[in-house]
């Protein structure tokens, strides 16, 4: 299979501590890959290095064979959701997306299309500060698919969602994956991810501790059981 995302010996150090410690892994094309681990494991830091928001202390992270910063018109290749911030609270959902669309030379009509896809059309003219957490997450997803990218990188997209929101997200990711997209989704909710992902990368204390298809990593157990075995029973 063709690897479209790769981490090679990635190290990111903050204040003498390795938040990410010699991470080498790859993500295959057309698969949903869960980037799993407890809070503070280094998932978000690794993803920030991957999309060029943080500079690696050493090693590298590449998408489609190049660092993110070297991608031409990156929004058309990679859609990213890092957190539910990232949008201006005093602007409406539609205005926020139009700012992004303008920067990527995407027509405004596409903004309305993606708002409909994430079921936010009726709230499009509402200020973002009046959005619920679930609505903010959906707006972030709308921003990620604005350029109709072939790769999606989602950091804890289910955070703060209620059960209905999580079910909606699961369906939404499946629809996106059926279109042949590669999706790298990070989460600390191992049980939930078991229903969503094809492949798994498990990280703990900055280090990769397991990688493979979901079935290979889980064996006969659940993902959570497999994780507890791999980490010696500690979810920290």
């Amino acid at each position: 299979m063709n690897a479209v995302i790769s981490f090679t010996g990635l190290v990111k150090t903050y204040g003498g501590q390795n938040a990410v410690d010699d991470l080498s892994a790859s993500v295959n094309q057309g698969r949903i890959t869960g980037f799993l681990g407890p809070n503070g494991a280094g998932k978000s830091t690794a993803l920030r290095c991957l999309v060029g928001l943080a500079a690696p202390s050493s090693g590298s992270a590449q998408i489609l064979g190049v660092p993110y910063r070297e991608l031409e018109n990156p929004l058309s290749r990679v859609g990213t959701v890092l957190d539910s911030r990232g949008f201006h609270p005093a602007l409406t959902g539609r205005q926020n997306l139009r700012v992004v669309a303008a920067a990527a030379s995407i027509p405004d009509a596409r903004v309305d299309e993606v708002l409909e896809m994430v079921e936010l059309s009726e709230a499009a003219n509402k200020k973002m500060k009046k959005y619920s957490l679930g609505m903010k997450q959906r707006l972030a997803l709308a921003g990620a698919i604005l350029g109709d990218p072939e790769i999606l990188i989602l950091d804890e997209p289910a955070n703060g969602l209620d059960p209905a929101g999580i079910a909606w997200l699961r369906r939404f990711l499946r629809v996106l994956a059926e279109g042949g997209r590669t999706i790298l989704v990070s989460s600390h909710q191992l049980a939930e991810m078991q229903h969503t992902v094809d492949d798994v990368l498990i990280i703990n204390k900055g280090k990769l501790i397991a990688a493979g298809t979901k079935e290979q990593v889980m064996g006969p157990d659940s993902l959570e059981d497999a994780f507890l075995k791999l980490t010696g029973g500690s979810l920290s």
């Binding site: 060029g52 928001l53 943080a54 500079a55 990232g86 201006h88 602007l91 700012v99 303008a102 920067a103």
Partner: protein, 258 residues
């Protein structure tokens, strides 16, 4: 062009920026409108009366007083990115940070110039209306309106750029705005009065110098005889813009985005 369009949308979509424009217009208009009244009632103290051309010129020169709003717009354009986390979306969409900053500096320059042109225009109009109520008012010098508008455009553009640079260096928006206010309204005037030789190189001394006024009132901290020639002052202020612009780009290239 796409990044310019995106940055322009950030400027015009945020209502607070329109509030700043209104504030600038009101401050310049009010400040200029009351200047003739103050000069007329205290002509002995100031040594200036409205039948003197210098006094009328200084009334119109007051129209340029809203330049702090140009800096604040620049600060809000940049530090707002960090305050609201929109820097993430900005740099994910356009990861070449130098290009993003160059476009943001361009829009800040345009925004600062627009604020200054509109507020200065409002100030000149307000000054003209107030002066029309007085008798024996001198004619303004032939260059005062042109000099004031040129100074408004140049200072607005450069201070917008300086604002973006400050917002890049000091990511806390309130701290950046408060620090700029303290500098421009406290530190800069004090330096201009106490150390005129150094003060004439500082922003408010340079902006006043660009107006090409002839006012000798050292007891009030204004003695334009000590100021730089208008063209030199314009070039020095442009130098400030270049230095701050380079600092903004260099700083944004290195730091991680939270």
């Amino acid at each position: 062009m796409s990044l310019l369009k995106s940055e322009w949308r950030k400027l015009v979509y945020v209502r607070a920026h329109w509030g700043l424009l209104v504030g600038a217009v009101v401050l310049a208009g009010f400040g200029t409108a009351v200047t003739p009244i103050i000069l007329d009632s205290n002509s002995a103290t100031f040594g200036l009366a409205l039948d003197q051309q210098t006094a009328v010129d200084s009334v119109y020169a007051n129209a340029i007083s809203s330049y702090i709003f140009a800096i604040i717009i620049g600060i809000m354009l940049m530090s707002g990115e960090f305050r609201h986390g929109t820097a993430v979306a900005t740099f994910l969409t356009a990861p070449k940070r130098g290009t993003v900053l160059a476009n943001k500096l361009g829009i800040a320059a345009i925004g600062g110039a627009l604020v200054m042109v509109l507020s200065t225009g409002a100030g000149i109009a307000a000054g003209w209306v107030t002066l029309s109520f007085f008798e024996n008012v001198a004619e303004p010098s032939s260059g005062v309106f042109l000099n004031t508008m040129i100074a408004a455009v140049v200072s607005g553009s450069i201070l917008g750029i300086v604002g973006v640079a400050i917002g890049t260096l000091i990511r806390n928006q309130m701290l950046a705005i408060t620090g700029s206010l303290i500098y421009l309204f406290v530190v800069d005037p004090i330096l201009l009065t106490l150390v005129p030789e150094a003060g004439k190189w500082l922003p408010s001394g340079l902006i006043t110098a660009m107006l090409a006024l002839d006012i000798q009132a050292p007891e009030f901290g204004i003695d334009t005889a000590n100021y730089l020639p208008p063209l030199t002052a314009t070039l020095v202020l442009l130098g400030y813009g270049v230095v701050f612009g380079v600092v903004a780009i260099a700083t944004s290239l290195r730091r991680d985005i939270d």
